[in-house]
Symmetry: C2
């Protein structure tokens, strides 16, 4: 109710949207960053003729598209909101795609709450939009002074917020959000500006209904007397609005080039992060929808190799991981295929954005470099040791962990073709090439790297520990113990069949991972075994103590995940099963 | 090298710190938010006589305290840094504790980088410090214009940053960071201000060494010719500095009161989130070190019950989860026991802060309410379905998930006594009391809630699904199937013994959880079984499809984790094992 006047003027006079053709690329975007204003959004859809009364009244019912917070189950909703502080950052991504990649003159309208301006992610968005001069972005801030549990920090004093937005390079206006003429004038002025525009509108929560207007304690609660409220608001009316339609989407061209796929020769040693950079640059050439974003570490993730080849489709997001992932989510709403990279450890900063991305059914590809203790001297703050666990626990996600550069190329291409949230974990250190360039790898696959046909034990690993496992298998072979080695490069979805075959055919299993013991490769394998009722004993080697700085090999040894520890674990395991 | 002049003046003229007594509560704090400036920090320690040359030169070696980024393994370091954008928010917590809780006149000095000002978390810190008028906080921003891979967004133009900080209520100065007199004057002015003070100091990366000064491409790299650089900087000198010592710590009193422990009667139905609020208020009375923080949802998490009893020890952090967790980490450096709460889903926003908290060996207690599909109509954006997985994958963490209010009280008290990172997951819906108020529960424990002595199958659950399991056990009993029900309230650490006993004594196991299938209760149990080589088959019931809105019971049913689905799964499992 606080934002109804703001949105009424928008729908009547400014929005350009064909509700019959939400796929029209020339449509404006409207994102409700304050997703809890869903009743308003759905009422607008009703007024625009997109839905009927019956559907509107199914609000929050089981099976209805009228969910408590908007999701893209509705064709006019780009992204799920409801975790505050995300709609504006995502809209920055939409606006970047429309203006910088497509040369479109569409506008991105965002309805923000005042409470959510406490989220730092909103200020990452203000900063980046100002930096990128996104004049196609208009943020309408509904300053209704009341949060869920009481007054906001600034209540109706919009001066601090407006000053900050202005300092970020925005055109700012402070208005009465219930003054229709002031709202209209503010939109007109916003469209004239050559900067992103923020309208700080002072409003009253529950506006128009005396029982709740500007009163605390009614957040998200139904009215006690809805009939009286309807009367007070002017009685039953069948409000409808004719929303202006956009023109034709402007065609744009992106060059595609037949570029040779990167490949690596046996005998070389190449870090998978380097192969990521090579592969990404290649994918940018063969697929014009590929874009890349990086969190100011492109010389470490090697996203800089993409930037060098495709500067027009590379986005430097600086050290703002939330804005980076949000931009990716925004860009994919327009059909782009965004690859976003940083150190794996720092992607944890954007975890809520990935979580919400899954609710949006977003198609984003993430790469986390510098994973595990094997990064060495930089120490634990830079080591991703929880990324497999956290990113497996994202709905529908894919988690890949290559150990070889040729494999990295193949898996990144698979990520390009996959629609959904996928994550690749890359390694800082160089490791030897073990696969041929022609070999295929797929999401959900695994590779038996070594097998004698009569193996006593199976070592299951991926990434850096696969190489440790191969060394361990060599050492075990010298002791007369044949070890199968499985490269479980697709941690999610997992190749249960290969795991179960190993459990059946060999006496014991050992998983080895440069990751905490929780939620990684070990537990993935344990889940497969336990669900099958396998009695083959599993030993899980993983990082279990807080690491420090040091050379990679010292840290792998200290964590108990190097070849020597694998050999020792194998001997203990075989002793237990009496082989 | 860019910040050496800034820190030299600080150590010579302003810092009050007894390096022989880092435990002195009157010491100033010095936090290197730009943790990668560790060589400078360690050199300062050397100059202050805290460490010797040999230790300094062990930088980044295995086993050395001189890690790549500072950690509290060093007694003068409060918190680990190295994930940028965390030092300032944490310092806000330290400053809040010192000024608001202790009435101390110590100062908190923070060295920030300019690159990290791109992180939204820094602006949460600026916002909150301005709001709380933390005049004991001084942020020194080393604006050296160059990030890891090239120029920052603003380079040496500090005007936008300074304007924003000023708008947040800070006293700001912009100076030449190599002008010793200007630095000295800026510190003096900062101490005179009655606001938090930010000094934006324009500096040159690699200052003083022509080969690298203000040049790109040398981030984190050793000098090619260190001898020449030493010569250029004035030759070998044994610089030492006498750092001023602080006075005595000011004593302060916090009232403790003998308040009755909350208890609930059989027959009542109480949401565990409500019991959290009751228990927290009680703990605040019996332990004067307990403080509480909440992310503007205290009327949902029920942290408001603590706020009502102990307003002096309650911190409203507004919708800024990163700043909330950072404040908790800051407060615990001074011996406080912070409990921070929000919806479980929104704690994901602060995941990197929790991760780093573990590297800091921080003692923080987190509570996530509104977990799982059972929250009902608000929809998936509000449902924590990944919190167990992500928080289990934090080094040394404890993850608790009560199903009963009396149990909630006991477990929260255990969290209070536990030193480390602990997390409690609470439920939105009311559930019946199943335990007595006198019953004890411990970290690492579990409870067999039902057992016939000759059980065909075991149901393992916690929280809302424990109640579904009990209903399922009733239904199975009617069919003549005796089911053991295990309350696995301590998900980490897990009571492996009870799980293995169930695997041994019953024909099949079923885990049921209102959480994604990855990294939760099911995989925890799977890990226990696989490591023991148990052949008892495990069926894992968990949320595997994207939920929508609806009544809790409809959503539990749709997710396949309600009593009816448990019964069906039990029958299938027993069929498989031929019981």
């Amino acid at each position: 109710m606080s934002a109804a006047d703001l949105m009424a003027v928008l729908f009547s006079n400014y929005l350009r949207y064909d509700f019959d053709a939400p796929e029209n690329k020339a449509n404006d975007h409207l994102v409700f960053s304050k997703g809890h204003a869903s009743p308003l959004l759905y009422s607008l859809y009703k007024a625009a003729g997109a839905i009927d009364d019956a559907e509107l009244l199914s609000f929050r019912e089981f099976g209805s598209r009228m969910q408590g917070h908007p999701t893209p189950e509705l064709p006019w909703v780009d992204v799920a909101t409801g975790s505050l502080g995300q709609g504006l950052p995502i809209s920055v991504g939409i606006a970047l795609a429309a203006s910088r990649l497509e040369g479109s003159d569409l506008r991105v309208w965002v309805l923000c709450g005042d409470s959510e301006l406490a989220e730092g992610s909103m200020w990452e968005a203000f900063e980046h939009a100002g930096y990128a001069k996104l004049k196609n972005l208009i943020a309408v801030v509904d300053v209704n002074r009341l949060g869920q549990r009481g007054p906001t920090m600034h209540e109706w004093d919009t001066s601090s917020l407006a000053a900050r937005a202005a300092a970020c390079g925005w055109y700012v206006q402070e208005i009465d959000g219930h003054d229709l003429e002031a709202i209209d004038a503010a939109y007109a002025a916003a469209l004239e500006s050559d900067k992103p525009a923020a309208i700080f509108a002072r409003t009253k929560k529950g506006s128009g209904v005396a029982a709740v207007e500007d009163k605390d304690g009614f957040h998200g609660k139904p009215l006690d007397d809805p009939e009286a409220a309807i009367e007070e608001l002017g009685g039953n009316r069948e409000v409808s609005v004719e929303v202006a339609k956009p023109g034709e989407a402007r065609p744009f061209e992106v060059a595609r080039a037949a570029v040779e796929r990167p490949s690596y020769e046996s005998g070389e040693s190449v870090a998978t992060r380097g192969a990521y950079g090579d592969a990404l640059a290649w994918l940018g050439s063969i697929d014009e929808r590929v874009v890349a974003l990086d969190g100011e570490v492109g010389n470490s993730t090697y996203a800089e190799r993409f930037a060098a080849k495709h500067p027009d489709r590379f986005f430097e997001m600086y050290i703002a991981e939330q804005q980076m992932v949000a931009s990716a989510v925004g860009m994919q709403t327009r059909g782009w295929k965004p690859f976003a990279s940083s150190f794996g450890a720092f992607l944890s900063r954007a975890y809520d954005f990935v979580r919400m991305g899954a609710i949006s059914a977003a198609d984003i590809k993430l790469c986390g470099s510098h994973v595990g203790v094997s990064i060495g001297p930089d120490g634990p703050s830079q080591m991703a040791l929880e990324d497999i666990a956290s990113l497996r626990a994202v709905f529908g996600s894919v988690v890949l962990y290559p150990s070889d550069p040729n494999q990295t190329v193949a898996l990144l291409d698979a990520m390009r073709e996959h629609h959904g949230i996928s994550y690749m974990r890359t390694t800082r250190e160089k490791t030897p090439v073990i696969y041929g360039a022609e070999q295929s790898f797929e999401i959900g696959g695994s590779e038996v790297v070594r097998s004698s046909g009569d193996d006593a034990i199976t070592l299951i690993a991926a990434g850096i520990t696969l190489h440790e496992s191969l060394r361990a298998a060599d050492a075990l072979a010298e002791k007369g113990i044949a070890a199968r080695v499985v490269d479980l490069y697709s941690v999610k979805p997992v190749d249960a069949e290969t795991v179960l075959a190993a459990a059946k055919e060999t006496g014991a299993l050992i998983t080895v991972e440069d990751h905490w013991a929780e939620g990684g490769i070990g537990e993935t394998v344990a889940g497969v075994l336990a669900e099958a009722g396998s009695s083959t004993r599993l030993t899980r080697l993983a990082v279990t103590e807080r690491p420090g700085s040091g050379p990679p090999e010292a840290l792998l040894a200290a964590a108990g995940i190097d070849a020597a520890h694998i050999v020792a674990a194998a001997e203990r395991a075989l002793d237990l099963v009496g082989v």
